[in-house]
Amino acid sequence: MMYLSLLIASGLLGGLGVMALGSRINCRHIASGTVLISLWVFYGLTQQMVFSDGGIQLMESLPWIPYFNVRYMLGIDGLSWALVGLTLLINCIVIAGSYLVNYTRMRLYLALFLLMQSMVIGVFLAYDAILFYMFWEGMLIPMYLCIGVWGSSQRSYAAMKFFLYTFLGSVLMLVGFIYLGIQAQSFSFLQMASVPLSLFEQQWLFLALLAAFAVKIPMFPFHTWLPDAHTEAPASGSVILAALMLKVGAYGLIRVSMPILPDASAYFAPLMIGLSLIAIVYVGIVAFSQQDMKRLIAYSSVAHMGFVTLGLFLIYRAGDADMASLGMTGAVVQMISHAFGSGALFCAFGLLYHQCHERSIIKFSGLGTKMPWFSMFFLLFVLSTIGVPLTAGFVGEYLVIMTALQTMPLVGLCAAITLVLSAAYLLTMYKQAFFGMPSDIVEKVRDIHRGEVTLLLFISLVVLALGIYPQGLIQVLYPPITQLLDAAVSSKLLV
């Protein structure tokens, strides 16, 4: 069984199905059916996997463009498995959310999200650089349309900025891939990982790849597209953007940059650690004065993704392998928990936005009395984002801070400031919006109904489960991480 191809194909076919049949059957049913089928395929795939083995499994490899030795090559390991699972869960939430709201052009809307699902899963599964690049760029189109068609007032500016910014980065990545492909006589990541490269070559390649990854993550000076994109995107677009699109950047660093360019990664580690710290502290400060709810959450996303890059590049300063895997595991867990933390915040806020079409924090007041259930869920997500123990947000942050304190205590000290910063900006926002007497806008809203409660409850349970028993996730992540770590720290320079 070609589970991996099936998984990718299911989203694509579902998207086509929605477009073709959506006029006759309720397109939401088709979309949810597609996601269920994908989940079923994913379940079958899970049965086939051996999680204690950290290597690539269920490899599918077919010649695609033989002349350049480009192959259609898919594979999965524990890391990819977790991220694919994340993608499916998030898409479940988005598709389920589509039952709760009405958009114009519903068919196109759903088809785009199914297409997006395929593309993101493709990125997580591809082991061939060109295939990876194809999925990578394929992701942009649905997101661009999503912001451009269903966005709010400034949508075309935000969509254009998003598209051009990320595209510029990816083109540089393509150049890097072509150079690597010529050197390795193959576009397979596995072959690229074993090709020797001089430090100078590695450095330039690293920067070229980083251009794509850093924009997507986004790292500190490349982050300004994100607040714009988030503010203008519809709720579901924001959820996907925060939960999935930011993750592919970090995934690229783990899967591509670090194993293929280990020496350059080590060389640039101080820079990356520095940028991550700036993201954590500086962006945390910036977030405090944001007036727009979605902008604030977007900035908190940047700060939290700072922990991912921090954890990843601390491995080059770690004293031993266990310490390094602590950092890397922390980074990956942070990726996943951030998906649920920020994604949940965007999702919940989307439900509110649909009632009142207002994003400015100052306009809200007293939501707590008008919407008690909603405010309870929202508080849980805020707490997860702040990193309160027993919620998902704590685990990754904690592990990364622990690694930082052990490897570079001063870095750890700075990273730990986030405890205070994030509490300050998120709770101030929460206070303004949820405490006090209801404002004019808030007077008109109703509390969330049963369907919405179910949706948020589902996310909350995931958030709590990840926080209470992260070991369940970590035992899946640990074997592949040790392998990737091995590749990431073994030098390629000829001695």
């Binding site: 910036v286 266990d322 008690p372 309870m376 123990p389 304190l405 205070v420 006090g436």
Partner: protein, 626 residues
């Protein structure tokens, strides 16, 4: 029954109550449900106490592995010894009483199920904090109680002041939590583990580790103490506690007097063997504790809000406990912690009753007619006497033990301690006179119900009796926090001879001074109140300064918060959107656009231009070939 199951039931029962009350129950059942679950928890805590506390060694109960990476094992598990069991009993008892009390206190509130759910959740988190067998799991509880405190301070959501106070409490607490996290990282680096059983005995390993001339253990202990300062509201992180009085009064009794704020003392005592290895930190602990005790005691003398007076007295008492920890008298700190939990809960709950009876008036200058309320009068009286340390009430035993201990250590701590005791006497007397003597007009007061009175009676009994009852327990308690301090053993011996102890205290300096100052103040209030008025007028300039906690509150609210806001706006507008976004990102795009102008003129869409260009190029290429 097995110890493990008992511990689990004790811990999880309040959680069950909290969840069920929040989600499934109508409020009328919710409150009873939480009371039932808390009672279960209390019963099991007592049973565990009876079974485990006296066996002389700690029981370690592994539950499950939270995160397991290579050689790092982060686990969830319980450690039951005489220290944690004592805390468990204190927490569940006070919590149970507060639950019952809240039945009456909160009966007019619409969100009762939420309230009871939060209180139960607090109990759960606090139990985690005291039961945990490793620092990480402690941190779960540590943040959990902070969260519960945040939720409960801001319980009356529609008012502005509680909302601000709740954020302040959470954020300031987080500063402390940062210290704890940092300590955890440093411990992990050196010892690779966070479990008490594996690390506490290995403190001497840390002695050799030096970083740029600083000893590692000093950093670790300092980090732990910063955590403790946050929770136990030691200066300068004390600013959140007075504001936390914005929450419902039973909460102030439970969280901000009896249990949560003592978590810092608990942590310091837990890590007693390490603090012993770090004399620098110990002296910092001593200084911070004593300065909090004295300075906050003085603030208590000028505050006019009944709850704030008690809050400042809590700060002062906490400072006393922390200071004694700094002298290595951990057992006596814990002793005072226990008795303090009883009499301070009593004081707060009585204050709550006062507030109810006077129709939600909190200003001491306006409350009147309280002397006629017999229950309130009596319970407040007992609580204050216990706090002043009049023999043979609870507070007397613990405070005199601390005094005796400090006297045997050295002179100046003893002097400061006596000063603290006198201050306690002064503000207690002032509170009493302002509350019951000043306005004796018989106003109409609101009657208070039985659910309010019963906890008061029980706590009154505890405030009288607990100190004596705990005397035999001190030896057991010492086993958990034994640092080989000989003076501690001597003092415990002295206390065990109760009659001799009381005799000795009656003739000692502190009690004499205390009673003297009470008498003087009583005389002044009774006969010559004008003296006080003149004094206050003379010292008016200092009044505001002291009332604002020596400017610390203003420093925080005016300068730090505003400054941070300004910094944030600067970063956001000038740096982020101005420099990075407009100059760099959009600047590049603007340059590209500018450059594209002339180029765009070439591609004008006119076919014949294109052909002409092609032709010319073709001719040039052909010429080139030729």
């Amino acid at each position: 029954m097995l110890v493990n199951e008992m511990a689990l039931i004790c811990l999880l029962s309040p959680l069950l109550g909290a969840v069920a009350a929040r989600f499934y129950c109508h409020w009328a059942y919710a409150r009873w449900l939480t009371i039932v679950t808390i009672t279960v928890s209390w019963l099991f805590a007592c049973a565990l106490f009876r079974d485990v506390a006296f066996i002389g060694k700690a029981v370690d109960l592994y539950q499950f592995s939270w995160v397991d990476i290579g050689r790092y094992h982060f686990e969830v598990g319980f450690l039951l010894d005489s220290l944690s069991l004592m805390m468990m009993v204190i927490v569940t008892s006070v919590s149970l009483l507060v639950h019952v009390y809240s039945l009456g206190y909160m009966q007019e509130d619409a969100n009762q199920s939420t309230y009871f759910s939060y209180v139960s959740f607090f109990t759960f988190a606090m139990l985690i904090l005291v039961m945990a067998n490793n620092l990480l799991f402690v941190f779960f509880g540590w943040e959990g109680v902070g969260l519960a405190s945040y939720l409960l301070i801001g319980f009356w959501q529609t008012k502005a002041y509680p909302a601000r106070a709740s954020i302040k409490a959470f954020v300031v607490n987080r500063v402390g939590d940062m210290g704890l996290i940092i300590a955890m990282g440093l411990i992990l680096l050196q010892l690779g583990d966070l479990e008490y059983a594996n690390i506490l005995g290995r403190g001497s390993q840390l002695l050799g580790v030096v970083w740029h001339g600083w000893r590692w253990i000093d950093f670790i202990c300092l980090g732990l103490f910063v955590g403790a300062m946050g929770k136990s509201a030691q200066m300068p992180l004390q600013i959140w506690l007075p504001d936390s009085m914005a929450g419902p009064t039973p909460i102030s009794a439970l969280i901000h007097a009896a249990t949560m704020v003592t978590a810092g003392v608990y942590l310091v005592c837990r890590f007693a063997p390490w603090f012993e290895l770090s004399p620098i930190t110990l002296s910092i602990v001593l200084w911070v504790g004593f300065s909090t005790m004295i300075l906050m005691g003085i603030v208590a003398l000028v505050a006019n809000d009944i709850k704030k007076v008690i809050a400042y007295s809590t700060l002062s008492q906490l400072g006393m406990m922390v200071g004694i920890c700094g002298l290595s008298g951990y057992v006596f700190s814990l002793y005072h912690l226990a008795t303090h939990a009883a009499f301070k809960a009593l004081l707060f709950l009585s204050a709550g009753a006062v507030i109810i009876a006077s129709n939600h008036e909190q200003d001491l200058r306006k409350i009147s007619g309280m002397a006629n309320h017999r229950t309130i009068h009596l319970s407040m009286f007992i609580g204050l006497l216990s706090m002043i340390a009049v023999p043979p009430l609870s507070g007397f035993f613990s405070k005199d033990a601390m005094l005796m201990f400090s006297a045997k250590q050295s002179l100046w701590p003893y002097v400061v301690m006596v000063g603290g005791a006198v201050l306690t006497a002064l503000y207690s007397t002032r509170l009493y006179y302002l509350l019951f003597w000043q306005n004796r007009a018989i106003n109409k007061t609101v009657p208070v119900g039985y659910s309010i009175c019963w906890p008061l009676w029980i706590l009154s009994a505890a405030s009288i009796y607990l100190g004596y009852a705990m005397v035999p327990y001190l030896e057991v308690l010492l086993r958990s926090v034994d640092v080989g301090n000989q003076i501690t053993v001597l003092v415990i011996k002295d206390i065990q001879d109760v009659a001799g102890f009381i005799d000795h205290a009656l003739t000692s300096l502190p009690l004499t001074l205390t009673l003297f100052s009470v008498t003087v103040l009583t005389y002044v209030y009774w006969k010559k109140p004008s003296v006080l008025d003149r004094l206050i007028k003379r010292l008016a300039w200092g009044y505001d300064f002291i009332a604002s906690q020596y400017g610390l509150n203003a420093l925080f609210e005016r300068y730090m918060v505003t400054g941070y806001q300004r910094l944030s706006i600067y970063c956001s507008e000038i740096v982020d959107s101005g420099l990075i976004d407009q100059r760099l990102v959009m600047g590049v795009s603007a340059q590209v656009k500018k450059a594209s102008g002339p180029l765009a003129r070439i591609a004008n869409g006119k076919l014949y231009h294109y052909i002409l260009v092609m032709l010319v190029a073709l001719v040039l290429i052909l010429l080139g070939l030729v």
